[in-house]
């Protein structure tokens, strides 16, 4: 049975050594009740995309393919061509951010194109998240970028091309908590 002292000691070990677990040793005197996760399990859970594109899945899509998905699945909330719907506006607004009435959209505000893919795949369409295929998500992402004039109408978005898209507002964010990207 653990005593109170054992658990306090365990806390000290952990806080003194910080991330010492990376040496391969398990901290002594902690419960160790996690079960090892398999690579297959992790693959099923790990949907997040890094800003340099790590995590992007196979598949691809173009703006014209995305327009079809958008009309069916997105337009009711976000309006025709990303404007005028009841929910967030997705297109336009460039040049308004320093005005009294800034319009924040994917085109005018979002700093990373990878975020569009990450967010649409995890959370959209609002009432049926996780219902689009990866290629449909690439296509919708391509459509939104094209609507905002950030990529061409025939550009293909995939794991190679999407991270290379430079969003117009990228350099206008001041990171209060320091972070320097390791890749440009």
């Amino acid at each position: 049975m653990f005593t109170r002292r054992t658990l306090v000691l365990a806390g000290c070990v952990v806080s003194l050594t910080g991330c010492a677990g990376s040496t391969g040793s398990t901290p002594r005197e902690t419960p160790n009740l996690g079960r090892p996760a398999t690579q297959a399990e992790i693959a099923g859970w790990d949907v997040s995309i890094a800003p340099d594109g790590r995590g992007l899945p196979p598949g691809s899509g173009t703006p014209s393919q995305g327009a079809q998905v958008y009309t069916q699945k997105c337009q009711a909330c976000h309006g025709e061509k990303g404007v005028g719907g009841p929910n967030d506006r997705l297109a336009g607004g460039q040049g308004t951010l320093a005005s009294k009435t800034p319009v924040r959209t994917v085109g005018s505000y979002w700093p990373y194109a990878t975020t569009v893919f990450d967010y649409v795949r995890r959370a959209m369409p609002f009432a049926q998240p996780h219902s689009l295929s990866d290629s449909e998500v690439y296509a919708v992402t391509a459509y939104l970028l094209s609507l905002n004039g950030i990529i061409g109408e025939t550009d293909v978005m995939n794991a190679e091309t999407l991270p290379k898209v430079k969003m117009p507002n990228r350099d206008n964010f001041i990171l209060v908590h320091p972070w320097k990207p390791k890749t440009p």
Binding site: L7, A10, G11, V14, S15, T17, G18, C19, G21, S22, T23, G24, T26, P27, T30, P31, N32, L33, G34, R35, P36, A37, E41, I42, W45, D46, V47, S48, A50, P51, D52, C77, P86, N87, L97, A98, K100, P102, R104, Y109, W110, P111, Y112, T114, T115, D118, Y119, R122, A123, F126, P129, N172, F173, I174, L175, V176, H177, W179, P181, K182
Partner: protein
Amino acid sequence: MRSRRDDRRDNDARAAAGNGLLDRRVFLKGGAAAAGAFMAFASESAAAPPEIPPGMTMSGAPLSPYGSPASFEREVTRTLIRSQPGTTGAGASRTPLEVLEGIITPSGLHFERHHNGVPTIDPAQHQLLIHGMVARPLIFTVAALSRYPMESRIHFLECSGNSGAMFGATPPAQTCGQTHGLVSCSEWTGVPLRLLLAEAGADPKADWILAEGADAAAMSRSVPMAKAMDDALLALYQNGERLRPENGYPVRLFLPGYEGNMSVKWLRRIKVTDTPTMTKDETSKYSDLQADGKSLMFTYPMEVKSVITRPAPGLKMTGPGLYEVSGIAWSGRGKIRKVEVSADGGQTWGEAALSAPVLAYALTRFRIPWKWNGASAVLKSRATDDAGGVQPTRDEFIARHGSNPIYHYHAIQAWSVEANGEVKNVYA
């Protein structure tokens, strides 16, 4: 008619600042004067008690398995419940600050901010994955987490959009809670995240984690590893009972002092990473657009702030006389060091009493006696934290950040007490 004794009492009550603010110790040392004033009110407004109240003439209500507030308090609810068009669970509800006291928010009145509703999660099915830059990716059940050593801490949680209406050109015609009620305070109990990160063997080169929720928005935020290893908690309990569904049942991340949405609810996954993930809710939302078009990103700690909750909009004064001004102060950078109150629009300030306990990253209750003369008056409170932060005036705050940030408003709040007893939000 005033007696000589009344006059002597007034002279004994030392002024703390102009327009009737009295020394914070008046209620302690001058107990007779204070009690006298309140009792005078009570006897004016209340009907004479019946000789035998009805509750004494019959048996009372039966025992019950789970208590609820008195039926007479049914109007004390969350307020300004708003969801995005066409949705029911993508919005916020707010704590009715002006009708609460102390520092603990009842769990059922804790503010809500959901991005796509409250998921129903069976704790027997729920699992938490810790993976990424770790030596041993691990999956924890709720039952497993519940066996770890725990810590209990009293902390506020504030949505970074709290008080956002104060960016508007005119003061919002709302109750105190409707404007400032995206802050609540609870006792949170759970497992220090550093224990689990150590067990998984987090890579020292990893500067970040990504926390992800099991809701329909798969809410996700990047958190600096330093915070994760410092005081981050995997909270399982709120105010002694398991988390409420709307607060992340069965397990949520809790990051003391940080903007609320980073304390990801319904926590399902922690990925140890070398970069922030740049999720939607740390880039396109919850970044603070400044007047020059640049945006502040990763603005984590909630800055020092206070608001007078009584008197406040939503309450009405019941005639001239002695009142206790009561309010809450808090800071995401530590403890509250002092709160000053003004009853003359900020010309003079008196120091309020801080009610124990005064805890880091917790609401702190402040109080100061005020003899209201019945004329209109502007009340303000100004908090200072132990990191040296002081609340700016609204003008100073807007001059520095503009009117577009949406988030992290924390300027001094002014309430106008009108001669008719109404209390209004004013820019003064």
